[in-house]
């Protein structure tokens, strides 16, 4: 049973990690906290539903369209709302409120556009359990883990090996100095939001076959993703990855060994314990390595 639960935990944890990564990237780059990550996850799921199920495009193209759309959507939220608010002297608290407003508007708008129902989304990678030793895994589960890990690897590569990623890290560490060496700091903010939205959307695309697609699905991952980012060390991208996996595994284990009604209690007790023992998180927070 342990390994079966571990598989489920890693699967869930990978998606938490994608959401957490968005929280941490945005915080590291601008010191801001967004609470719209859950709705970005939801919109990602609805966009793939629209492209794949409604427009009947091939899956790979639907996925590409969703990712491109979500990238522009994230940049537009930053450029059209967050950065103008900051220019008018908004505080971090104002921005938190603005993102809560966005998330509510988004989930209600989704209900108006696509309806209040819950939509089935087929398992592209197969839902038939495959036997590996004593463990059953579905193709979809394997795909979730592979795609998520691939995303994390790409983020790591992008942030440490490409000019643009290094510029984003530089702007996060010191805005004034970044500007002085010719880095377009506002552009790095927009890019960070684009990246955060894409990561959340990938989570939505991958989980859609398991949880269906519906307007309130953001709640599945938003608070856990945030918790994972904090546990891992808020603002640290590697911490977000580890925190997400850890939370997913704890949640699945406690559901399996104790009871599924108690799993969230265990998760949040762990969160509080981490805050007591290591307030800066597993990795030290706000270190954009």
């Amino acid at each position: 049973m342990f390994f079966q639960l571990l598989v489920g935990g890693i699967e869930l944890g990978c998606v938490y990690a994608l959401i957490a990564l968005g929280f941490s990237l945005i915080y590291a780059s601008s010191g801001l906290t967004t609470f719209a990550q859950g709705e970005m996850f939801m919109l990602g799921a609805f966009m793939i539903y629209t492209f794949f199920m409604m427009a009947r495009l091939p899956f790979a193209i639907s996925m590409l369209c969703t990712i491109v759309f979500m990238g522009f959507f994230g940049a537009a939220i930053e450029g059209g709302l967050i950065s103008p608010l900051m220019k008018r002297g908004a505080s971090g608290m104002n921005i938190v409120l603005a993102t809560i407003a966005i998330s509510t508007i988004m989930s209600n708008a989704a209900m108006l556009i696509w309806g209040a129902g819950s939509f089935n989304f087929p398992s592209i990678f197969g839902s038939k359990p495959i036997h590996i030793g004593s463990v059953y895994v579905t193709g979809q589960q394997i795909a979730i883990v592979v795609v998520s890990l691939l995303c994390m690897l790409l983020v790591h590569f992008f942030m440490t090996k490409t000019k643009l990623g290094i510029a984003m890290r530089a702007a996060a560490m010191d805005q004034t100095a970044a500007s002085a060496v010719g880095i377009n700091v506002p552009m790095t903010y927009a890019l960070t939001w684009a990246l955060a939205c894409i990561l959340a959307a990938v989570g939505g695309i991958m989980l859609a076959p398991i949880y269906n697609v519906y307007a309130k699905m953001g709640a599945l991952v938003s608070s856990k993703g945030f918790a994972a980012a904090v546990v891992g060390g808020y603002g640290n991208m590697y911490g977000a990855m580890v925190g997400g996996l850890l939370l997913g595994i704890i949640e699945t284990m406690s559901a399996g060994y104790i009871s599924s009604s108690i799993k969230d209690i265990v998760c949040y007790v762990v969160l509080i314990a981490v805050m007591f023992i290591k307030p800066s998180g597993i990795f030290n927070g706000k270190v954009v390595n």
Binding site: F158, K161, T162, K163, L164, I166, A167, R169, A170, M173, D174, T176, A177, A178, S179, A180, V181, G182, I183, N184, V185, V287, V288, N289
Partner: protein, 255 residues
């Protein structure tokens, strides 16, 4: 070609009721080292921030090589040829020495995001060029043996040198140094003085704020003196050292 690399034209910088800079004008000749001095609070760093576009002046204009910088975006000033260091060291503290200098070079590069992701041959060549340049600048300031050390782990004097190397990596026409010798010991100061002379020998003009008068006077060819946001004197180091107004500003009025 313009005779002056930089022209500061009637700059006023007002913060609320305070005029931090009051109608300040001066020129920096191409190829010279120009010192900006004055007592604490006289507006030197404010002047730096106006020139490098961190601050937008209340009125007046700055010209680089005859071109007005008024419409230039903050981050684009570096691309036009102005690089600077900061009074309080501003490094990318979690990056290595080499990465910091590489960041300084990025504004001169052309390969875009797609090239970076797909690692095109052009991108690879450029990356190698940036790395080579970073190594050259490290060697120039004498940090080549700590290439992989994180910036925050460097001693203070070396952090100041790293800032200079990062600024030089962008091939500036004008290098602006804000109190580069602060916190340095006498031998470090001597090294800094010789570095600045070498920078000048490369044809780069330098504007320097410096409190160490011995250093400022020994490396500069002309000096502008600010006091309470007003330009009170300009001239060669010898003229400035014998200027009554300057002596008064530093030491108080003669009785």
């Amino acid at each position: 070609m313009n005779e002056n690399i930089l022209t500061v034209d009637h700059i006023v910088m007002q913060f609320g009721g305070l005029k931090a800079l009051n109608d300040v004008s001066f020129n920096i000749e191409r190829g010279e080292v120009h010192a900006l001095i004055g007592p604490n609070g006289s507006g030197k760093t404010t002047m730096f921030n106006v020139i490098s576009h961190v601050l937008e002046p209340t009125s007046g204009e700055v010209f680089l090589d005859g071109e007005s910088l008024k419409k230039t975006k903050k981050y684009a000033v570096n691309r036009l040829g102005i690089a600077r260091t900061f009074q309080h060291v501003s490094l990318f503290s979690n990056m290595t020495v080499e990465e910091n200098i590489m960041c300084g070079r990025y504004s001169n590069t052309h390969q875009g995001i797609l090239g970076a992701i797909f690692k095109t041959p052009a991108e690879r060549r450029e990356e190698e060029e940036i790395r080579q340049r970073a190594r050259d600048e490290m060697k120039f300031v004498g940090l080549d043996d700590v290439a992989d050390t994180k910036a925050k782990k460097l001693p203070y004097g070396d952090q100041r040198l790293l800032e200079i190397a990062r600024a030089l990596a962008s091939d500036p026409k004008l290098l602006m140094l804000d109190e580069p010798a602060a916190g340095m010991n006498p031998s470090e100061k001597e090294h800094l003085g010789s570095l600045i002379r070498q920078v000048q020998a490369k044809g780069i003009s330098v504007l320097i704020i410096e409190h160490d008068m011995k250093l400022a006077m020994s490396i500069s060819q002309s000096v502008t003196v600010l006091d309470h946001g007003i330009r009170i004197a300009e001239g060669t180091p010898e003229e400035i050292q014998n200027n009554d107004k300057v002596i008064e500003a530093y030491l108080g009025k003669k009785v």
